[in-house]
């Protein structure tokens, strides 16, 4: 049964993964067993294949979707059992910028890696980011911008967090075509990632701190 769930995730079969997970739970398999022996190993393989260049991004995303499907019945049970998600991430494209494909890619991959993701969408104002940090208490705030004219809104958000007294409660990570590590350092962000896969790694590192 666990092997079949793992295979369903590898194949990106969301419905099958969810159904098999439900059936396994009924048979008395523990949620932690399903997570540790089927879902996590499947996503590990997906990650390795991706690193080797053998798995394409859409194929990885569809596996992440299947993983999410399997998590639906598991989540409440895991929470009851005291198993926490890896971390919570609030993510959005900054004010004035409509480009969401890169940001959504990061969001999907973070979810696939076991993060809880709150996606605020595009043209997110500093106020909206601050509000989300205050309400949802994420460990990580992730911002994206495609344009040189909109990336300047990133430090605006960081300033707003500081003014709201929230800056030390959240790690801020940034990305997008014109953004660089140097820029992240300049504006006092906690991290920068050049692509979705490194964003997931970065989030993993920051979540452990």
């Amino acid at each position: 049964m666990l092997e079949a769930i793992k295979q369903a995730v590898l194949d990106g079969e969301r419905k099958t993964a969810a159904e098999l997970t439900g059936a396994a739970l009924k048979q008395g398999v523990s949620p932690k067993e399903i997570l540790d022996q089927a879902l996590t190993p499947a996503m590990d393989i997906v990650g390795e294949e991706y690193e080797r260049g053998d798995r394409y991004v859409p194929e990885m995303l569809i596996s992440a979707e299947a993983m999410k499907g399997a998590m639906v019945p598991l989540k409440p049970l895991l929470a009851d059992a005291g198993v926490e998600p890896k971390g919570r991430v609030v993510i959005g494209t900054v004010d004035g910028d409509l480009h969401d494909i890169g940001k959504d890619l990061v969001a999907m991959m973070l979810e696939g890696a076991g993060f809880e993701v709150i996606n605020l969408g595009v043209e997110v104002t500093a106020e909206a980011f601050v509000e989300a940090v205050r309400e949802r208490r994420p460990g990580i705030l992730a911002m994206s911008a495609l344009l040189t004219t909109t990336m300047v809104n990133m430090p605006v958000v960081i300033d707003a967090l500081t003014r709201a007294g929230l800056r030390d409660q959240v790690k801020v990570i940034i990305g997008g075509a014109p953004v660089t590590q140097t820029y992240a350092d300049e504006i006092g962000a906690d991290g920068y990632a050049s692509d979705a896969a490194s964003a997931v790694k970065l989030a993993g590192r920051l979540a452990q701190k």
Binding site: P58, T149, P178
Partner: protein, 488 residues
């Protein structure tokens, strides 16, 4: 370098039936799905010409609305420089290739390191392009990072116009800067009417974010530009597999629909507004979803777009010359060589991104402009084909020399070796090994750097007259722009 006479057939990757099918599917997509036009003033603009405004900003387009726009949109657009060259004549058989991009990095000419571009770099690049004969126009290639973003639009147009006489194209961030830039260009052109009659600048607006969603801020800029009658490229940049279908044909249907909707918008703003059909179609590398500008599929898409533009008879702002390499290496050479040649063969009217670009659109380098100047020259030479006439067939010359003779000093040889018959690239090495070693055994990149340095050290002439410059500086605060004439 425009070709004077084309002797080879235009390259097609789609049959006439394919083109017709894609155009039909795109129109049907606009009829049924339409675009998300957001809010006013666009809903009113669209409904004013008979497009249907649905719920939540959705606008669909009856066939007649599209046909009306295609009737009024100009089929020919002339873009002017301020040197002796003829204007760029877009919409016919001519092919022009020039720079492009809004790169956020530049490779330093001396140490090769990637750094932030400055306004000085923009001035140097404009001067470099001024001196590279095969590059036909100067589309502002870098985002100067040493200038506040509010001042950037005006400064970049000023700096470009001050350092090259070639046609200058760029984008603007807001309605106000659009007005300022038009006023600045009017002062240089000798009045607003002269500017409209002989546009020495033109604009790019990325008015639509794929798939099928109007960018309201940029579209407002488009409204301002179209109202003034300055030529504008309607740029939309779908990527296969993320913001467009993963199949090349599917992407073409979507991008053609997007472009048609843009033409409709421009003509709704002002009948007869000059626009360029401006698809920037691309594919991604599915291993990373990273942009793959140098991919051969990108070239196929762009050639297909030339055919689609031709079908609706609107001049095209096409795209060739991207590479995904980070430096001027072998990959840059073969990616650029292939896609520039293919687009030139297809007959793209105004082909941007054709010089200087690296890392898709993110980086430029000085030496790459010099190298691409050669690639463009070779592509254009290929288009000219082989001239056949009594003079070139040279049968009487062959008879005169006879068996066993030679042609080295024949008048016919001397009459032809310095003509268009031969293109001589500046960066290639054709010496023998010993001579090459004696000259330092350097590669093409280093030779290109040497040429770039030589051009940058040439005595510069300003391209904005002193009294005009004074007038401009009285009108606008150009504190950051020191590279006008007399300000070296």
């Amino acid at each position: 370098m425009a070709i004077e006479s084309r002797r080879i057939e235009r390259l097609c990757v789609l049959s006439a039936d394919d083109v017709c099918t894609i155009d039909g599917k795109a129109r049907s997509l606009l009829r049924t799905t339409g675009i998300d036009a957001g809010a006013e003033p666009f809903l009113e603009i669209f409904s004013g010409i008979g497009a249907k405004v649905g719920q939540r900003g959705r606008v669909t387009f009856p066939e007649r609305v599209i046909d009306d726009a295609l009737d009024s949109v100009p089929n020919r657009v002339l873009l002017y420089g301020r040197g002796g060259a003829l204007p760029l004549d877009l919409g016919g058989d001519k092919v022009y290739l020039g720079t492009g991009g809004a790169a956020v990095r530049i490779l330093d000419l001396e140490d090769g390191r990637a750094r932030d571009p400055t306004l000085d770099d923009l001035a140097d690049l404009a001067w470099l392009v001024e001196n590279l004969d095969n590059i036909d126009f100067f589309l502002r290639p870098v985002v100067a990072r040493d200038i506040a973003s509010e001042a950037l639009d005006l400064c970049k147009f000023y700096t470009s116009l001050a350092n090259t006489s070639k046609h200058v194209m760029g984008s603007v961030g807001s309605v106000n800067t659009a007005r300022d830039v038009i006023e600045l260009a009017s002062l240089i052109a000798g009045g607003r009417d002269s500017l409209v009659e002989r546009p020495i600048i033109s604009f790019i607006t990325s008015w639509l974010v794929s798939p099928l969603t109007l960018d309201r801020q940029v579209s407002n800029v488009l409204v301002t530009i179209a109202e003034q009658g300055i030529p504008v490229a309607l740029s939309t940049a779908p990527v296969a597999g993320s913001t467009a279908p993963a199949t090349l044909a599917g992407l073409l249907v979507q991008v053609h629909a997007e472009e048609l909707s843009g033409i409709v918008l421009s003509q709704a703003i002002k009948k007869g507004a000059p626009v360029l059909y401006g698809p920037v179609p691309a594919v991604a590398d599915f291993r990373t979803m990273g942009y793959a500008g140098g991919a051969i599929e990108s070239a196929l898409l762009n050639v297909a777009c030339v055919q689609l533009a031709d079908w609706i008879d609107v001049p095209i702002y096409a795209d060739a010359g991207l590479t995904d390499s980070k430096l001027s290496d072998v990959q840059a050479g073969y990616e650029k060589g292939m896609n520039i040649l293919l687009l030139a063969m297809a007959g793209g009217d105004y082909v941007h991104h054709s010089a200087g670009m690296l890392e898709s659109m993110l980086t430029v380098s000085y030496e790459q402009y010099v190298i691409d100047n050669d690639i463009i020259g070779m592509a254009i030479r290929a288009l000219q084909g082989i001239e056949i006439s009594d003079q070139t067939l040279a049968t009487s010359v062959i008879e005169g020399v006879g068996p066993g003779g030679h042609y080295l000093t024949h008048p016919h040889t001397l009459a032809h070796i310095r003509t268009d018959e031969y293109f001589v690239p500046a960066t290639v090495d054709r010496q023998g090994r010993a001579a090459w070693e004696k000259k330092g055994a350097v590669d093409g990149r280093e030779r290109a750097r040497q040429i770039a340095r030589e051009i940058l050290h040439r005595e510069r002439k300003g391209f904005i007259l002193e009294d005009v410059d004074r007038e401009i500086r009285n009108r606008f605060d150009l504190t950051g722009c020191l590279r006008g004439p007399g300000n070296e």
